[in-house]
């Protein structure tokens, strides 16, 4: 990284007031989001850097759940596609939807709906690895990007997430509890192939739709393609993998 990017130029003369106004709003936004406050003297380099960092963090998160928002999800997905195209590592995309969420809002009100969203978001975040990215991408829709997730683990991960949500009742008032469930669809990125975010999401969504139509509260992953190279062929390929017997 070019170190020159890190040096902030001095504030242009005359723009001080507009800048101060904007920072006022920025500080209010940070305060509202529960930010602990910025270190150092206001408008010092360290203070401005901390402000930018905090704003970047804020603009990449969903306000209600604290998860990644749609914007940062799209960035992460594009990054993952780059990686998979180059490295060939398996990567899984899960799309999730809270079952009958409209009923929660209709029957219990939007405050209860928000509690359910936050609780499901927490359950998701706690069930996956730190390297995985959990995002709230729409109303009751979530997506999870799981880099380096071997095909064999896909169904296990999805099932673990589903049961975790199903077993986490949401207390919405002292005498009311909601048992939310999620339907999960999933698709692996095609190895080596540069897919597009849209295509990958569509494939996972097709599986999510299948999970919904098959009765909800279940996981459907795109069936794996037959591997191109069988274990037997690999065995023969590496039979002399030490390549000791040079002629």
């Amino acid at each position: 990284m070019d170190p020159s990017h890190r040096a902030e130029p001095p504030l242009p003369a005359g723009k001080g007031q507009a800048c101060a106004l904007n920072t006022e709003v920025a500080l209010q936004l940070l305060h509202q989001s529960g930010h602990a406050g910025l270190p150092g003297t206001p408008f010092s380099d360290a203070w401005l850097q901390a402000l930018i960092d905090a704003l970047v963090d804020l603009s990449s998160r969903d306000a209600l759940t604290g998860l990644a928002n749609r914007r940062s999800f799209e960035l992460a997905l594009a990054r993952e596609i780059d990686r998979v195209a180059r490295s060939g590592e398996p990567a899984l995309l899960l799309t999730l939807d809270i079952d009958h969420f409209k009923r929660v809002n209709d029957n219990h009100g939007h405050v209860a709906g928000d509690l359910v969203l936050a609780a499901v978001g927490r359950a998701l975040a706690e069930t996956v690895r730190p390297m995985d990215l959990v995002a709230r991408v729409g109303g009751e829709e979530f997506c999870i990007v799981l880099p380096n997730c071997p095909a064999a683990f896909g169904p296990q991960v999805a099932e673990r997430i589903r049961t975790r949500v199903a077993r986490s009742p949401v207390v919405i008032s002292p005498d009311e509890t909601i048992h939310a469930t999620v339907s999960i669809g999933g698709a692996f990125a095609p190895q080596w192939v540069r897919t597009t975010p849209r295509l990958w999401i569509d494939r996972a969504d097709v599986q999510l739709y299948r999970a919904k139509t098959e009765g909800r509260n279940r996981c459907c992953l795109e069936p794996a393609a037959v591997p191109l190279v069988s274990a037997e062929e690999k065995g023969m390929l590496f039979a002399a993998s030490t390549f000791q017997d040079f002629e």
């Binding site: 192939v193 190279v229 069988s230 062929e233 390929l237 039979a239 040079f246």
Partner: protein, 268 residues
């Protein structure tokens, strides 16, 4: 997909006069395919060939990185009609020409009819002006890679002795054998640690091909070893300096191996 390949496959046998088109592909990424391609081009140019390297890694091109070029005009500009083909063909440090994909080619990383036609047209148009065109394909076995290979007269597979690289090279051979009529494929083993390792790998790959691929084919696939390039710190140094190995360390053993491979390619 098969219709795509059968329509272009026939061009392999009855190609028009002009450059020999060689597709360089690898299956796995990161085996040094672009590095080998660029240095092979420099070695061929040194033998007097007019060489063009076409960056066909449309989605993730990095020939410009290897050659330390900052192209203003790229294949993307040609495809979008913003520049003429002849203006996008640039001189590269090794005495050969390059046609770089440039960024913004993500939209071409899927094999749409437009991408197919444009790639085909570009290759047909450069063919009369060069003696050799090296197509640096993307990693993997995507439909763009397979299509690019189908446009070439010959294919060079670059692999390393690593099991993952061998598996992917084998998978590529298998897919090519089942989708295209090509039956001779050239193999270059990069990063070998012992003399003769390339030969042993070719033999092993051929054995697996004979057993699992050739049994279903009228004409068997045969692999020809173009060369083995030793693992050497000079390569890393060249890559870090973003220079051709043939320029930064022409006397090194990997440079000499690439020159030998070029001579073999040239003599055929």
């Amino acid at each position: 997909m098969s219709a795509v390949f059968s329509s272009t496959a026939s061009s392999g046998g009855t190609r028009a006069a002009g450059a020999v088109i060689t597709a360089v592909t690898s299956g796995k990424g990161g085996v040094g395919k672009t590095f080998v391609t660029a240095n092979l081009a420099a070695a061929l140019a040194r033998q007097g060939e007019r060489v063009l390297v076409l960056d066909a890694d449309l989605g993730l091109a990095n020939l410009d990185v290897v050659l330390n070029l900052y192209p203003k005009l790229t294949l993307h500009d040609v495809f979008t009609g913003q520049t003429r083909l002849e203006d996008a063909i640039l001189p590269a440090p090794g005495g050969f020409s390059v046609l770089l994909a440039g960024s913004g080619m993500i939209e071409y990383s899927r094999l749409t009819p437009t991408v197919r036609d444009q790639l085909h047209e570009v290759i047909q148009r450069v063919r009369p002006r060069f003696d050799r065109v090296l197509l640096d394909t993307g990693a993997g076995i995507s439909d763009v890679v397979l299509y690019t290979v189908s446009l070439a007269d010959e294919v060079l597979l670059v692999a390393t002795p690593e099991p993952t690289s061998l598996t992917d090279a084998y998978a590529t051979i298998k897919v090519l054998a089942s989708t295209q009529p090509r039956r001779t494929m050239h193999l270059l083993i990069n990063q070998v640690q012992r003399v003769g390792e390339g030969r042993a790998i070719r033999k092993q790959l051929q054995m697996v091909i004979d057993r699992y691929v050739n049994t279903g084919l009228d004409v068997p696939v045969s692999l020809e070893l173009l060369g083995e390039v030793p693992l050497d710190s000079a390569v890393r140094d060249a890559v870090l300096k973003r220079q051709l190995l043939l320029v930064s360390a022409p006397g090194s053993s990997p440079a000499q191996a690439i020159v030998a491979a070029a001579a073999k390619l040239f003599s055929r």
